[in-house]
Symmetry: C2
Subunit: 166 residues, 2 copies
DNA sequence: AGCAGTATCTGCATCTGTGCAGATAAATTT
DNA sequence: AAATTTATCTGCACAGATGCAGATACTGCT
C-alpha cells in the first residue's frame, strides 16, 4: 500500500539509481577512450555478437559513410575487426576483438567489485532474486531504448540550417 | 553454491544488464538533445541539487572556459539556470530548472514504464528488496565512477601534447 | 585604499565527428 | 553479358566542443 510519499520516494530512488549507473557508464567509456557513439556501437556489436556495417548504420542512426569512419576508429582502437562475409563479399562483418572486450571488462571492474560488495550483504536467495531481476530488466531497458529511438528526437536543434535562408 | 558456469553466467547477465541500462541512457540523452558531457553534467547537477561553475569544472574534468560554454548550452536548452551566489558574487550557482527536469523525466518514462512492468511480476516483499538494492547500488556505482575517474585515462590519445616540449 | 588571490567569462585556434554525394565493388536480374 | 540494385568506402565541407590565454569582476588581507 504505497502512500504517495512512498511512491515519490521510489521515483527518486530509481532516478538516482539510473543516474548513478549512467554516470558510471560514461566514465567507463571515457576511460576506455571511447566517445558516445563508439561506446554505443560497441555495446550493440557486443550484444549481438557481430553486425554488418549497414546494420550498424541503421541501428545507430548514422549514415553509412559516418559508420565507416566509426568502424575505422573502433578498429584502430583495437575493439573490433572487419571480416569479410563469405556469403556476400560486398558485406563487411564487424565483430568484437576478444582483447578489446577484456579491456572493457577491466574498465567495468570497479563497478563489478562495488556491486559484488553490495550483493554480498544479501542471502543467496535474495541474490538469486536480484539476478533474476537483472535478467528481466535488460530486455526491458532494451525495449525502452527502442521506444525512445523510435520517437527519435531529430538530433539537436540543427537550426534546420536552411543553409541560405539569408 | 555457484558453479563456475553459473559465475560466468552471472558475469554475462550483469554485463548485458549494464549495457542495456547504458544504451538506454545514451538514447535518452540524445532524445533530450544532449551530448555526453551535457548529459553527464546535468546528472551531476541534478544529483547534487546545485553546483557552482568551478565545482562543475572539476567534477567534469573540463577547463573553466569549456565549462562556461557547457553551462551556456544547458541554459539555452532550458535545463539549468545561473543564479548569483549571495555569499560570493564572483560565483555562479548552476541549478536545474524544474521544467527541464520534467523533460528529462519524460525521456526516462519509457524505461520507467517497462521496468514497472517487470517489477509488477514480483511480490511486494520482493519489490521492497529490489528497491533496497537500488538504494544501495546507487552509491556503489558512484564510488565506482570516482574510482574510474581517478585512474583517469588521459582523454583519448591526445598525443600527450606535452605543450612546450619544443 | 591597495594588492594579491579567486571565479567566471571571452577570443582564438584546433580537432573531431558527421552528413552528403559520388566512387567502387559485388550480387542479382533480365 | 549487360543492366540494376545493394553495400561499403572516400573526398569535401561544416558544425560544434574544447583547450589555452588573457580579460573582467569580486573577495579578503594588510
Amino acid at each position: 500500500m504505497a502512500t504517495p510519499a512512498d511512491a515519490a520516494d521510489e521515483h527518486v530512488v530509481f532516478r538516482q539509481y539510473l543516474d548513478a549507473v549512467g554516470l558510471q557508464g560514461l566514465a567507463g567509456a571515457e576511460a576506455a577512450g571511447l566517445h558516445t557513439s563508439e561506446w554505443y556501437a560497441l555495446s550493440l556489436i557486443t550484444l549481438e555478437g557481430s553486425l554488418t556495417s549497414g546494420e550498424l548504420a541503421s541501428r545507430t542512426g548514422l549514415t553509412t559513410g559516418a559508420t565507416t569512419r566509426l568502424i575505422d576508429r573502433l578498429e584502430r582502437a583495437g575493439y573490433v575487426r572487419r571480416v569479410a562475409d563469405p556469403k556476400d563479399r560486398r558485406r563487411v562483418i564487424v565483430e568484437p576483438v576478444p582483447d578489446g572486450l577484456g579491456r572493457i571488462e577491466e574498465v567495468l571492474s570497479p563497478a563489478r567489485r562495488h556491486i559484488a560488495e553490495v550483493l554480498a550483504r544479501y542471502t543467496p536467495e535474495q541474490r538469486a532474486l536480484l539476478f533474476d531481476y537483472f535478467r528481466q530488466a535488460a530486455p526491458a531497458f532494451r525495449a525502452a531504448t527502442e521506444e525512445i529511438r523510435k520517437s527519435a528526437a531529430p538530433r539537436r536543434s540543427r537550426t534546420t540550417h536552411a543553409k541560405g535562408d539569408s
